[in-house]
Amino acid sequence: MTFELFLQHLANGISLGSLYALIAIGYTMVYGILRLINFAHGDVVMLGAYAAFYGAALFLLPWYIAFPLAIIITAALGVIIERIAYKPLREYPRINLFTAAVAVSFLIENLGIVIFGGRPFAFTRPEFMDVNLSFGKTSIISYTFIIIITAGILFAILLYLVNKTKAGMAMRALSKDIETTGLVGVNTDRIIMFTFALGSALAAAGGILWATKFPQINPLMGVMPGLKAFIAAVLGGIGNIPGAMIGGFLLGISEILIVAFLPSLSGYRDAFAFAILILLLLFRPNGIMGEVQAEKV
């Protein structure tokens, strides 16, 4: 493999990784607070992509309006899902919460099939994302970089929100200890809503960027990215935001590179993620950044 080709794969891997990371953050934040594997999160990704698609294709909005609008709508949907399906179950056995997430996931996917139709739509990239950039012998289309840059900006904003704002700090406190944080006068409810809004917004951004990278959208498009992003979150140590980012990049890059170096294994690509995950968990049962929590007896 030439060095140029390697760089091309690497760029590809980083852009895929940043998508996984964007989606993984929502998983990890929700898990941190509610201990819920929100399996509907992948479908929120799909909603984001469709919202952007309809904004651009149906209402003919320019991308710089359609995309942010899609993100806002999806964030609102994320909050609504939490209010209706998860909030009433907070005090109940966790299997109920998990099943609620499964039900919501089925619901969104199949509503998607009913409303949008089962056939895929072609997603048109904004022109500036479709520029062919050549570097010596290789050429990379501009969306690869734009995805990475956008994701980078979003990560920076997120880290600022989580570390520097009141709501963000309350969120982190909540994920450490929901009971005592609730007692010291933090409005738990509002923080949970904030978490879902933030996670869904990032998922929507991930969905839109995903659609620019793989420009075919269908109602089940969120399933695999969602699952991979969840793996990324667990790899990084679920509940840990920087961990989710690391996990996302690790997963994206290794997926692309393994297939690049061993093309005969490309059929097994979706199995790598799990193989990596299982191997890692056997040695670090709480992920890369996760803290070991020995149960006090």
């Binding site: 499964v102 109602p219 793996i231 056997l282």
Partner: protein
């Protein structure tokens, strides 16, 4: 005396059930017979999930993978050599399988044993993990199994799946297997081993401090579950007569979780009822996905509608019947008799209520 009575009642009920199956097999059309068969397959899925999660507390999401193993064993051991040649036109099947053709019973048992073996191999490392980590690892193994099956063309014919599998599954086989599953799982959870499993579910630390070997009992639950899931998988492929590997995506596992929770975590009765309701319900709703004409009004079909209704219903049950339809309650003759008696008494006088209570106590001990 009482035990004898209950055994007799059970035997009688089985005889009646057998009669009903025979009636169904001979009078209903193939479409409905297939649905009733599917009810049995899903019952096995739900009952086994209940064993592993509802009674042993291990959040395993590996069902789809184990079912896939059973389904492929069921297909590959029953397909005739000629059919195999027809199926594997891209690349011939592995030689050791080319000329195998087995009767159904040994096929089912091998399907179960292989699923149990692979289930135990999966569980062996995975059981070091707890809670959600166990869930994601088992889900991962399930997907890895599926991806291998899709890619291992000389063994499975890859993404094209398999066709022409003999339709051996009938109501006697499917419900026979379901009843055996329920019987064994019920006996297991009521035994001392089952008590140990429930202790693990309730409090691992305390269970281990009482001398319960956690690993042994978890593996046991895994292996027994995986065995019957494998059998159900084989019943499934020999019922549908084709295999499409996409069926065994992890979403199948989610469906099974949904069904089991709907029926009630910790109720085998609930699992069986919910699995059957789910299957029948989805079939009854099939028309709403095809075009309907009412008078001159034509409503175009909407694929996906059935699952929309199912997921709404699932959500409704979880939100409003938080313990599922049956909670942890189990059907039993004592319950039925008490129920019937209680009703009669209540209708007569309120005075006898006290004695009913006493009678119930006697029944229990």
């Amino acid at each position: 005396m009482k035990i004898k009575r209950n055994t007799l009642l059970t035997l009688a009920a089985l005889a009646v059930f057998y009669g009903l199956l025979a009636l169904a097999e001979n009078t209903l059309n193939t479409y409905w017979v297939r649905i009733l068969n599917l009810c049995a397959v899903y019952t096995i899925f739900a009952v086994t999930f209940n064993l592993i999660f509802g009674y042993t507390g291990q959040f395993s999401l590996g069902h789809a993978g184990f079912a896939a193993i059973g389904a492929y064993v069921g297909a590959l051991l029953t397909l005739s050599p000629a059919q195999k040649q027809a199926n594997f036109f891209l690349q011939p099947i592995l030689p050791f399988l080319a000329n195998v053709e087995m009767p159904f019973l040994p096929t089912l048992i091998i399907a179960g044993l292989l699923a149990a073996l692979i289930g135990s191999l999966v569980a062996w490392p995975a059981l070091r993990l707890r809670g959600d980590y166990l869930a994601i690892a088992t889900l991962g193994f399930s997907e890895i199994i599926r991806i291998f099956l899709v890619n291992w063309q000389p063994l499975t014919n890859g993404a094209m799946g398999l066709k022409g599998i003999p339709e051996y599954t009938n109501l006697y086989w499917s419900w026979g297997a379901a009843i055996v599953t329920i019987f064994i799982v019920k006996r297991l959870i009521d035994s001392s081993y089952g008590r140990a499993m429930k202790a693990i579910r309730d409090d691992e630390v305390a269970a281990e401090a009482l001398g319960v070997n956690l690993f042994k009992h978890k593996i046991m639950a895994f292996a027994v579950s995986a065995f019957f899931i494998g059998v159900a998988g084989a019943l499934f492929s020999n019922l549908i007569s084709t295999i499409d590997p996409k069926v065994f995506l992890f979403t199948l596992t989610y469906q099974i979780v949904g069904i089991t929770v709907m029926g009630g975590m910790g109720s085998l009765t609930g699992s069986a009822v919910a699995a059957s309701l789910y299957t029948i319900f989805l079939e009854l709703l099939r028309p709403i996905e095809s075009q309907i004409t009412i008078g001159s009004l034509m409503i175009p079909g909407r694929p996906g509608m059935r699952m929309v209704i199912f997921s709404l219903l699932l959500l409704f049950v979880i939100l409003f019947y938080r313990k599922g339809l049956f909670g942890q309650k189990e059907f039993s003759w004592d319950w039925l008799i008490g129920f019937l008696r209680g009703k009669n008494r209540k209708m007569k006088t309120s005075q006898t209520l006290g004695s009913t209570g006493a009678a119930d106590k006697e029944n229990k001990s």
